[in-house]
């Protein structure tokens, strides 16, 4: 059993809800433009590359490499998350940069280009419980 972590609020609504529904099924899927093939993240209503409004929810491999990282000491969220906590920027195999949290490792372990893989942890915000995509140093079966 894992603890459900409290988190600051997600952006919800058209498109955003679909992203989180896929996460709930343990899948990282992002919007791929049916016109130009560009992968959009964060979720958009129109493609940031070509302006068209039709997307396919493309499954990501879930693997990527660490591009950057930081550790929050300042409390920006009224102590919702225990500090310090770390964030990472991952380049997914599909080329998109995905901002997330490291899971099972931290700031002092970080190396540029380190291999990571997505996993999903149980979280809760004001809108309810959800599964949050985070990244571990190797592929694990989805926790939850």
């Amino acid at each position: 059993m894992t603890m459900t972590e409290k988190r600051p609020p997600r952006t919800l609504g058209t498109g955003h809800d679909t992203f989180w529904e896929w996460c709930g099924k343990g899948e990282l899927r992002l919007q791929k433009c049916t016109s130009c093939g560009g992968i959009n993240w964060p979720v958009r209503q129109t493609c940031e590359f070509c302006g068209q409004a039709e997307f396919f929810w493309e499954a990501m491999s879930g693997r990527g490499k660490v591009v950057s990282w930081c550790s929050f000491h300042q409390d920006y969220y009224g102590s919702v998350m225990p500090r310090p906590y770390d964030c990472i920027l991952v380049e997914l195999e599909e080329g998109v940069l995905f901002l997330s949290n490291p899971h099972g490792f931290g700031f002092d372990d970080m190396v540029l280009g380190m291999d990571v893989a997505v996993q999903f942890i149980d979280c809760e915000d004001d809108a309810g419980v959800f599964k949050l995509p985070v990244f571990g140093r190797e592929a694990l079966s989805n926790s939850g």
Binding site: R7, P8, P9, R10, T11, L12, G13, H16, G38, P42, R44, Q45, T46, E48, F49, V67, S68, W69, C70, S71, F72, H73, Q74, Y76, Y77, G78, V80, M81, P84, Y85, C87, L89, L97, L99, S100, N101, F107, M110, V111, L112, C123, D125, F130, L132, V134
Partner: protein
């Protein structure tokens, strides 16, 4: 914003500058004296205007244009004119941060809308308790068309990621790993800017610090320390801008606005910001400004970059082509951003140590430097200078020439 067109170059000159008492106001807010009344946007604006007018040697009757720029709200145009006691024929709200307002006024003067414009900017960020991160920008607060809040200010809340500081931290961690730099190395940037501020009696923070003291200061978003992140303070700036041919016989040296540029990230923000340090935008906007002014990097004797974070000053020095990629920090460590270096930078103490006026106080500093009025921090022999407002996704450089050159 008007295009970076050569026909707008050197058509308008800055002939007056006024600023509020950043240091005294900050100190009063930290330790309020009995009966203390915090400054208002209106009071700060009026003070800066009266100082700028006195500095220019002009009178209220000479002011036929007025613009107001209030980042967090302020009086609308007619109220502002009444507050300042002027009757302009051209009077507009003019954006807020120094990302367009000066080019807008220069173009208006070139087009005959006004001959002498008072540009007023004021913020009471500190009194209003303005914070920069977390719930400042609520989740789901925007559409995707780019007129409002950038998604990077709110979209990553569920991962605990927000704030301008976090943007600079992500850039810095990548940069430091890529070029093999330590926190101590980056500390030289904030230290250099503070050393400048120690020579500016109106700077909020004037006490120099050692690298040991830098390392001991708390993290905000690691790897960045408190001293890597800009101030939050109240203040106002007024610039008096006059038609260049009318600015030539005045008591003080006019400072001509010679060029400007603008570029914004259109997609893939985190890649362009973190991995490329906004280089595509800085190069494009800088190229526009240099071409408009007929100048090059080698001409620039004084640079004022937007140091909302120490790392971002390095992004700009590199992105505008003053040094090569990855060389900005060692350039600073070698003293090249000091008063006698190759590119004296943020000589009043920047946003890090002097005052966080969204780029406006850096224009005022440029005018003082160009006139030779910068006192203990004066750069010798200046003819051309550059200011840069650069946010997490856009760049707005402006180039200046000593009047008559």
């Amino acid at each position: 914003m008007p295009p970076a067109a050569p026909e707008f170059s050197r058509k308008a000159s800055i002939v007056g500058v006024g600023e509020s008492d950043y240091q005294a106001d900050y100190r009063a807010q930290r330790k309020p004296p009995e009966g203390y009344q915090p400054p208002t946007t209106e009071g700060l604006a009026l003070l800066a205007f009266e100082r700028a007018l006195a500095d220019s040697g002009l009178t209220r009757g000479d002011i036929d244009g007025l613009t107001g720029s209030f980042t967090y709200g302020g009086p609308p145009p007619a109220e502002l004119a009444s507050l300042l006691g002027v009757g302009p024929r051209w009077n507009i709200s003019n954006g807020n941060i120094m990302a367009g307002p000066l080019p807008v006024v220069c173009a208006a003067i070139a087009e005959g809308k006004a001959d002498c414009v008072a540009m007023v900017y004021a913020v009471n960020s500190r009194t209003a308790g303005r914070v920069f991160g977390g719930a400042t920008h609520p989740a789901g607060s925007d559409s995707d068309e780019g007129y409002g809040t950038p998604p990077s200010y709110y979209y990553y809340h569920p991962w605990g990621w927000s704030s301008q500081a976090a943007h600079w931290a992500m850039i810095a961690a990548h940069y430091m790993a890529k070029y093999g730099l330590r926190e101590e190395d980056l500390g030289a940037v904030a230290q250099q800017v503070r050393n400048h501020a120690s020579r500016n009696p109106n700077a909020v923070m004037q006490t120099p610090f050692t690298i040991e003291e830098y390392m001991a200061s708390r993290y905000i978003v690691r790897p960045l320390h408190l001293l890597d992140i800009c101030l939050v303070n109240d203040g106002a700036v007024c610039l008096i801008v006059r038609r260049a041919d009318l600015a030539r016989d005045m008591a003080k040296v006019p400072v001509d606005v010679a060029g400007w540029g603008e570029a914004k990230i259109k997609h893939s923000k985190l890649d362009q910001m973190v991995r490329q340090q906004l280089r595509p935008q800085l190069e494009e906007a800088g190229g526009q400004a240099f071409a408009m002014a007929g100048l090059s990097q080698a001409d620039i004797g004084h640079f004022e970059g937007y140091d909302a974070g120490s790392m971002h000053l390095i992004n700009q020095i590199e992105g505008y082509g003053f040094v090569g990629q990855g060389e900005g920090v060692s350039f600073c460590q070698a003293g090249e951003m000091d008063l006698t270096g190759r590119l004296p930078s943020n000589t009043e103490g920047g946003n890090l140590s002097a005052s966080y006026m969204h780029g406006w106080s850096q224009v005022a500093e440029t005018v003082r430097q160009m006139r030779g009025e910068a006192g203990a921090r004066q750069v010798a022999g200046l003819n051309y200078a550059m200011t840069s407002l650069a946010q997490t996704d856009q760049a707005h450089p402006i180039l200046y020439a000593r009047g008559g050159i």
